[in-house]
Amino acid sequence: MTTLIKNGIAYINNRFSRKDILLKNGKIQRIAQTINLDKVDQIIDTSGKYVFPGFVDIHTHLRDPGQTYKEDIASGTRAAAHGGFTTLCAMPNTEPVVDNIASVDYVQRRAKDLGSARVFVIGAITKKSEGLEISEMATMKSGGIVAVSDDGNCVQNAKLMLNCMRYATNFGLPLIIHAEDYNLSGKGQINGGKVATKLGLTGISPLAEEVIVARDIMLAENCGAQLHIAHISTARSIELIREAKERGVKVTCEVTPHHLLLTEEACLNFDTNTKMKPPLRTEKDRQACVKALKEGIIDCIATDHAPHADFEKAREFDQAPFGIIGLEIAFPVLYHYLVKQGYLSLERLVEALTSAPVKILNLPESALKTGNPADLTIIDLGAETIFTPESILSKSKNTPWLNQKVSSKVLYTFLEGRQTWKAE
C-alpha cells in the first residue's frame, strides 16, 4: 500500500514547510518538495492542511482488562486515532492491575490484534498498586514495559518509595508518580479553595500534591532515579520542579489539557465532568502551567484519558468517580484556546505532543523523517470540531467540552502507513 500526501504543511525538525510525503510498506519512504508518481494506491491532497507526526500520549487509561464497559483497547485506540494519536502508554490501574508479565502480555497482544494505535505498557510500581510491596518490575521490563507507575494511587510510605526508586533504577525503568498525600487530600472532591468553600464540597489542598512532589524529588535526587511527575497542577509544584531541574535532578513532568485550560470555577455548576485528580486549580495555577509548558519546565502534554460510563458520572457530585476523557479532545481544545489565542506556539504544542513525551520514556521517535514508521496525522486548522456523544469514539463521553465547538479538525491519521482515522 502506497499513499502520497501532497502539498501539506509538514512539521519537520520543529519547523513547518510545504512538502510531499510518500508512505510505503508502513514507512515514510520519501519526503520532498514535489513527488510525482503514477503508481500509487492513494493520493491525498492536503493543500492548506497540516501534517504532523503522530501524537504520543504517555498517560492513557484504556480500562482493559476489567472495566471494558468504560473503554477497551479497541475503542480506546480508535479514540486515539480520532484525536491524531498513534502511540499510547497504558496505565496499569486496570482490574487486575498490570503488575505481572501475563497482564503485560495481554495488553500488548490485544493492542497488536485490535489496536488503531501503538500501545506501550506501564507496569505497577507496587503489587496491585497497593503501596505495600515492590512489583516484579524486572520481569515486566523483559516483557516490554516502558516505565512503572501506581497512577491513581500514590505510594505513601517514603521508605518503600525510596526502595522502589532504587529497584526501578537498577533495571533502567523510569518512575511515573501520581503525587497525592492521602491524609492531606482526604475525602476531597475539588480544589481546596474558594469554590470548595462556596459549594460546601471538601477541598483537596494543593499541599496534597506539593509535599509528594517535594518528597519524591528528594528521594530521586538521593538515589539517581529517573522521575516523571504526572499531571502537574499547581504553581508551587512547578517551582519545586524548576529548582530540581536547575540542581540537575533527573526529573520531568507533564500537564493535561484540562489543567492548561480550566480552573476550579468550572465546578460551580456541579458538573461531574469537572471532577478529576488532581483537581482543577486556580487561575494563578493555570497560568503557571501554561507559562511552564512554554518554557519547557513542563516537558510535555499528556491527556490522562480516564473514561467513565454515563451512569457513573450521572451521580451526586461527591459520589461520582474522578477523571475525564482526553484523547479526542486534546489537540482541538489546545489549538483553539491556546495556539489560536496566541498563548502558545503551534510548534511547541506539537513538540509537547510528539518528540517531548517520546524523549521522557525513551520511546521510538515520532517524527516525519525518511525511514521512520509512517505514523502521522493530517489536521485542518481552519475547520471545526464539535464533540458530541455520537462523534466521540471513546465508549465514555465524560468531558467538560461535550457539545462544544472548537477550531481545527483531524482529517486523517496513519499508523505504520495504515489509515486509522478518516473524517467524513
Partner: protein, 312 residues
C-alpha cells in the same frame, strides 16, 4: 394573596438565585402563612390536588416534619421518601429513584441529601421544581429564610443589623445560606470559631467579617447565633475536646455581655446545651430559638404556595 409568575415552577437551590426583592416577597407571604398557623383550623385548600414529595436521603426528622406540615396545611398531598427504609439503601441510584417517584406524579420535591448539588440533579431528572432542604455543607436556604424572617419579624427591619454566628463554620450549610441572604438584605455578618473550623476565603466570597476571638466577634452584635458543635469533628483532628471548645466559644450569660444589651439569641437546632450554648441563654427572654421553628413552617408554606402557583 397570589403567587406571581416569577416564582411559579422555580426551584430554590440557594438564595443567590433570588433577588432581595424576591426574598422580601417570600417573607411577606410567610407573614400571611403564619397567621393561618395561629388559627384553630390550620388548613387552606389552595394546593388541593398537588403532590409534594419529601425526599430525605439524609436523616432529619424536624426539617422533614416542617416541610410535610407546610404542605398539609396548604392541602397538598404529601408522600415521604426516606433513604433509611428505601431502595437507595439497596443501591438504587438517585436518578432511578427520582424517575420512579416522578412516574407517580410529583409536583414539587423537597430534598435533603448529604451530597452538595443533589437538588440540581433531582430537578435535572424530574423536570419539576425542587426546594433544597439541605445539601451537605453547601446550602440550607429554607433555614436561612426562616432565620431572616424571625429577625425581620422581631426587629422590624434588616438593613444595618449586626449578626454574629459562632461555631463550626466549616461544616455548616446554614451559615453559607445565611451569609448569602443576610448580606443581600444589608445585614452585617461576623462569623466566629477556631481556625480549624473556618473555611478558606470567607471574607472574599461572602463579604463578611471573620473573628477567631469570641469577645471581639460579639462586639455590638444585635443578634447572636450559635451553631451545633458536632462530636465527630474531634476525631477529624479539628479540635481537642468539647470542653475546651466550650471554654472559648460557649454562649453564656458571661460571654453574651459583649453583644448589645437584649441582643436576640438564635440557634438552628438541635442544640447541645452546655457545649455551644448554656440553658441560661437558650431559654432566656432574649432567645427566639423556639420561634424559629414555628416560623420554619410558615416560610416553607410560603415557598410551596408561590412555587406551585397558589391563590388565596
Amino acid at each position: 394573596m397570589e403567587s406571581t409568575p416569577q416564582f411559579v415552577g422555580r426551584s430554590l437551590y440557594d438564595l443567590d438565585d433570588y433577588s432581595s426583592d424576591e426574598i422580601m416577597y417570600i417573607l411577606e407571604a410567610a407573614k400571611g402563612m403564619k397567621e393561618i398557623n395561629l388559627r384553630e383550623y390550620k388548613k387552606i385548600p389552595t394546593l388541593r390536588g398537588k403532590t409534594v414529595c419529601t425526599l430525605f436521603v439524609e436523616d432529619s426528622t424536624r426539617t422533614r416534619m416542617s416541610f410535610e406540615l407546610a404542605a398539609s396545611r396548604l392541602s397538598a398531598d404529601v408522600v415521604s421518601f426516606q433513604a433509611t427504609v428505601s431502595s437507595l439503601k439497596k443501591g438504587e441510584s438517585l436518578q432511578d429513584t427520582v424517575n420512579t417517584l416522578n412516574a407517580m406524579g410529583i409536583d414539587l420535591y423537597c430534598i435533603r441529601h448529604s451530597s452538595p448539588g443533589s437538588p440540581q440533579l433531582v430537578h435535572k431528572y424530574s423536570g419539576k421544581p425542587v426546594i433544597n432542604g439541605g445539601d451537605g455543607r453547601h446550602a440550607h436556604p429554607t433555614q436561612a429564610l426562616l432565620d431572616i424572617f424571625s429577625i425581620w419579624e422581631r426587629l422590624g427591619n434588616l438593613k444595618g443589623l449586626k449578626i454574629t454566628i459562632v461555631g463550626d463554620i466549616l461544616n455548616s450549610r446554614v451559615v453559607r445560606s445565611d451569609l448569602i441572604g443576610m448580606t443581600k438584605l444589608g445585614m452585617e455578618v461576623t462569623v466566629c470559631g477556631p481556625r480549624t473550623l473556618m473555611p478558606a476565603n470567607m471574607e472574599q466570597i461572602y463579604g463578611c467579617k471573620v473573628e477567631y476571638d469570641l469577645a471581639e466577634a460579639l462586639k455590638d452584635a444585635d443578634i447572636v447565633m450559635g451553631l451545633r458543635m458536632q462530636l465527630e469533628r474531634m476525631t477529624e483532628g479539628l479540635f481537642p475536646s468539647l470542653e475546651e471548645y466550650s471554654r472559648h466559644y460557649v454562649l453564656s450569660k458571661e460571654t453574651i455581655k459583649y453583644a448589645k444589651k437584649d441582643a436576640l439569641i438564635m440557634h438552628p437546632g438541635p442544640m447541645n446545651r452546655g457545649i455551644e450554648i448554656l440553658p441560661e441563654i437558650a431559654d432566656s427572654a432574649q432567645s427566639i430559638i423556639v420561634e424559629q421553628v414555628a416560623n420554619g413552617v410558615a416560610v416553607r408554606m410560603a415557598l410551596m404556595f408561590l412555587i406551585l402557583g397558589g391563590k388565596l
